[in-house]
Symmetry: C2
Subunit: 138 residues, 2 copies
């Protein structure tokens, strides 16, 4: 199945999610690990579409999400920076989800510069992440 | 806001619904009224997108759906037949929602031929409607 860029944008506006997790990791210098991810969740009956997304972006995995739901998921910072960000910069999301994407991009850029390895950097990322996926106009 | 056809397909694959309601109407010959509708539901923060869909299809209404959610809705059989069906015939849905669309189209065609005004027609439509939005591979 071949996907059109605008179809991917529309589907992501509906079903996609840009998320930044921050997990406690006491053994690390910064005490926390930043885990950004781009996911698209769908009922398993449409798993072939998730594989088509994986093929399109040439990265990520298709895994069970919860019950009958499957997820296409990209967690590699390198793949997020080089494949996911450029796509949604070129093809802009039309819903307010674009605000989450822009914050997500900020986090990825901070991680590329290495600041997430410092306590100060973690604090900065935490503030950005707290303002994501809140469903508010921002 | 100008929408791209493929964006609309992707967004509908995520957020759209083709539904056929059948309401009891004892005073009608067929005893039931068939109420098909195409809806796209979205949080009110993205109401401008629902209006953009209304502008694109040049029919339908934008109304409150439930709580913070708004819906773009087309209920006119004429508008469904002449504007919504041709669009999704030309631009095919990629998820299994396409199966619902094809059944929805059957119902609209039956209504255009007037069979929904007879008890036999209602029975036929009821069978089609029962197989829609079940989330099954069909």
């Amino acid at each position: 199945m071949k996907l059109d860029a605008q179809w991917i944008v529309g589907f992501t506006d509906g079903e996609g999610c840009f998320f930044v997790g921050i997990n406690s990791q006491p053994e690390m210098t910064a005490k926390y690990q930043v885990l950004p991810e781009f996911t698209v969740v769908q009922h398993k009956r449409d798993i072939q579409l998730l594989h088509a997304l994986k093929d399109y972006f040439d990265c990520g995995v298709v895994r069970t999400n919860h019950g009958d739901r499957m997820a296409y998921r990209v967690r590699s910072v390198e793949h997020l920076a080089n494949r996911i960000l450029p796509f949604f910069e070129k093809h802009e999301l039309k819903t307010k989800k674009r605000q989450d994407f822009l914050k997500f991009r900020n986090v990825i850029h901070l991680m590329m510069s290495g600041v997430h390895l410092t306590p100060k950097g973690i604090d900065d990322i935490r503030i950005i992440a707290a303002g994501m996926n809140t469903g508010q106009e921002r």
